[in-house]
Subunit: 393 residues, 3 copies
């Protein structure tokens, strides 16, 4: 499909509610809106590959707030911002600081006078990340309505405690390209499985985001994890409801082996148990450092009981020649750790695929910004296509 | 007044001495030059709000040197630079390092080969910040005259030990908008008052900058502080002289209560005593860490005697419905600290106003850069207005 | 020579192998390619000085990886990137971390989805820097060939353990301007001499880079150092071979005095002994911190035997009114240290010259990027010259 045809198809989607809106959770958006983000991402990618300029701003800031270390998300956001003509400014916050409302309100406005978008990553503490993003959003909306800010900065969730929408939409885009269309996902079995890792406290936002997004397209989504590694109940409910509506299935199992059988897609990845993450937030708020250390030791000890949860060649053979997904970096057995999430031979076979999967993210982020910022996204896309402005001049 | 009229009025001002000049202290500039900065700030703001591009550079660096932590000034400078088309590069210097001439000269040139402006914040040590800026300025002027540098980087003071010109010009811009014109300031009573804070070592540059700027427009400026919290004598002299010339008044009082009576504008803010700040510089130079700790304890103890210096509802009632100013962040009693500079109920009422006050700063910084960089500021402004280049394309 | 004549002359050079190529070692490039980089640097400089825009990208990232502290190289790279229209993103890596292949491969791709150039400085460990750059290069070439990356990022060596090509080409450009042409270098005596410094572990890449580049143009290159301060044998061999081919001479001497006699150019600079640097890498890999400390003490003690190796007025008098070179910062006796590489009176006389020398570097880096990125560098240069796009608009 060429870009003109894409624009025509894209013009049929109802996307007006994305305008001047944040992007925080995929399940707050309609199916058409999700498809719209993917469509714009595809078109921006095609424009760039055909050396069209995709600048829509001649000036403006894109502020990033990373309350946790990050390389790939940082570069994805920088790339997306640059693609649209925005300059990145990073707000350097003290790590692991639980924020107070007053300070958030003030800082949010102070960094936003000429800011078009604020990208936030805050995934460390259950009950904190999403609510922090909403505080920032409320603050700049208030600032805009009181004419303190001449434009409304959009908030884009670059990973919170609940969801990781730009990751999971990039994952979805990868699946759509792999299977040849979003409608081809119907009936495919996708396994989101816990896997062993020797590290502690990996966020729950990827598995939650995956079951919260991929249950919408008629897939048979299976969540597999050992006892005690469940996810936030609200997201489980959403996944179940969406699955029913979309004509797919959503199951939970305690066996990685059962889950992998006849799967078309597998996503084996470690995460911390929900109740541990909750306890961690409490201890942190109480500044109980000893308690935190003890919790970490407990949790790692507990993980060890499930060292067999590894994505092996043997398991992969039981699938229907499944595609392996990972948000990277993966804990590869014998490479990045002794025992980890995936056997080296499995990872090696899918390395290129996982890199390509990651490569969609800058365009997904750019698309989410584009749809929040551009009032008439169809006309603007035609303008970009026909203007003749080159990226490499 | 629309932008065209503004340009006409602006064309009458004598601004040629701002060209290729630094912006270090407001009292080194004429009234017309101060008005010129405000006029350009207003026009850049209007252009941006009408979606005109204000890029005057297609390439060039804006270097920032923050020798002290900063969020709002950092983003103001980033915003201003971006507005004009410059890319920010930060020079990361070790904090609290007293610089030596040779190193400053070399570094200043090494970061300036393609640099249009250097924004510096260095406010921690009395006798250091301003002289550091002059060293940098001398170095790049020498470099330019010796043809090492193909353009002369302008130095803009983002806060030194003596003055904080971009803050106080933003404050002035706020007052001009609030009262409806610079001539409306005449006869208004403005109080720059010390206020209690549980923190140590706040710079003197804001109160000094305020009395050094606002005594020029016929206002009745009152400086209020407890004994021992005086400002640099030179600035006091300047304030007195300017006040006389402008037909206003400049008074100093030891009573916050007296000061507030019938005031039109109040600026209650904490700062460290001048002699403490002087002693601090000496101890620092001698690397006397024990002495520094003792000094801090002394100073905080001393502050406690003046915990009653708080901007309360009761005090505000004695004013002529005064406008409350603050450069933010304020120490709000019961919010950011137990007892602080201002009662929460007072701050709440003026929160939006203080945020708007801060919002002028990016435009003030951009205007200062613009007037130093653009030889014919009137023609260029007309070009920006009529070119039709859009900011959001 | 005006820019048009320069372009004509430049059109005769064979530069096609620079296209889509990295710039890692000068001796991997032909004489014409080196001349090509200098010619483009000159033209970009002239264009900028004549207020022509030299943007060749409307979007794209320039990633910098500094595995060692840096001010001047950081700003040179930022300036060069900005000059061509690229936005800089810095990858913050833990210092002194010896990298593993798998991680490098993944990270290299993750930061490169929209990246045009990766500038790397990694000069601390013998056997590490150059091989790290090749790992990054291999990784992105593989990523490009597998269509993970839509463009091939170029790697530019901003200093490795073997060579410092952008420094030495800037040095060469300085000499060409000083003597009035590259052919004027023939027969001139250039001394690359070790000099005393009270600091430890300065990289060998500058002396190696100098003998590896300047032996190509018919100069008489003399390398002078105390016993035990030899360079990597491979580079010594290359220098000898090149020297023979170019009709110049390459000699090594153990006497600074002998070396300076009748010299036209002197480059006195400290570096660590090769065998110490090798041992350091071993100890580091073994995480032997005590061993590293002992090695440093040994090395500094050893240096002290050669405190007389200082560039003095007396020595300078024995030269043919030689030009003094330094890559800065120099250890100036009585200024930055008690005894150092150069007497203050010598440095003072050449300060402006050394600053100018440094000033070529941004253009050299930009030229190296330009020639790797632009398929038809002659036509593009004409476009930049005649387009009429201004830098200061």
């Amino acid at each position: 499909m060429d870009t003109e045809d894409r624009i025509e198809k894209f013009a049929d989607l109802r996307l007006e509610n994305l305008y001047e809106s944040d992007f925080l959770l995929t399940w707050d958006r309609t199916d058409e809106e999700i498809e719209g983000v993917l469509a714009v991402a595809d078109m921006l990618k095609a424009l760039r590959e055909n050396n069209r300029s995709t600048r829509i701003f001649s000036s403006g800031l894109a502020v990033s707030i990373f309350r946790d270390k990050s390389t790939r998300t940082r570069f994805s956001f920088a790339s997306a911002s640059n693609l649209l003509g925005l300059a990145v400014s990073e707000l350097d916050e003290t790590k692991s600081q639980i924020s107070h409302g007053e300070t958030v309100r003030e800082t949010a406005n102070m960094i936003s006078f000429l800011t078009e978008v604020i990208g936030i990553r805050d995934d460390m503490y259950i009950g904190e990340g999403h609510s922090y993003m909403k505080m920032v959003s409320d603050a700049v909306r208030e600032g805009f309505s009181e004419r303190i800010l001449p434009q409304l900065p959009m908030i884009v969730n670059l990973q919170c405690d609940i969801d990781h929408p730009t990751q999971t939409m990039a994952d979805l885009m990868h699946l759509v390209h792999y299977f040849g269309g979003i409608e081809k996902l119907r009936g495919k079995k996708l396994v989101m499985s816990w896997a062993y890792s020797p590290s502690y406290g990996k966020p729950l936002s990827v598995p939650q985001g995956i079951i919260g997004l991929l249950t919408r397209f008629g897939m048979n989504v299976v969540l597999a994890h050992p006892e005690g590694y469940g996810l936030i109940p609200e997201v489980m409910t959403i996944a179940g409801e969406q699955s029913g509506k979309s004509g797919g299935r959503f199951e939970v199992t305690g066996s990685m082996e059962d889950a992998f059988r006849d799967a078309h897609v597998v996503y084996p990845k470690s995460w911390a148990p929900y109740h541990i993450m909750e306890k961690r937030t409490e201890l942190l708020k109480a500044r109980d450092m000893k308690g935190l250390e003890a919790l970490e030791a407990d949790c790692l000890e507990n993980n060890k009981s499930y060292v067999e949860w590894e994505c092996t060649q043997r398991l992969m053979k039981s699938t229907k020649d499944a595609l392996y997904l990972h948000c990277l970096p993966a804990d590869i057995s014998g490479v990045s750790c002794e025992r980890g999430e995936v056997e080296a031979s499995v990872f090696d076979r899918f390395r290129t695929a996982t890199y390509s999967q990651a490569g969609y993210k800058p365009y997904i982020i750019a698309a989410a910004i584009y749809l929040s910022k551009v009032k008439d996204p169809v006309s603007k896309m035609k303008e970009l296509l026909y203007s003749g402005d080159r990226r490499v001049m």
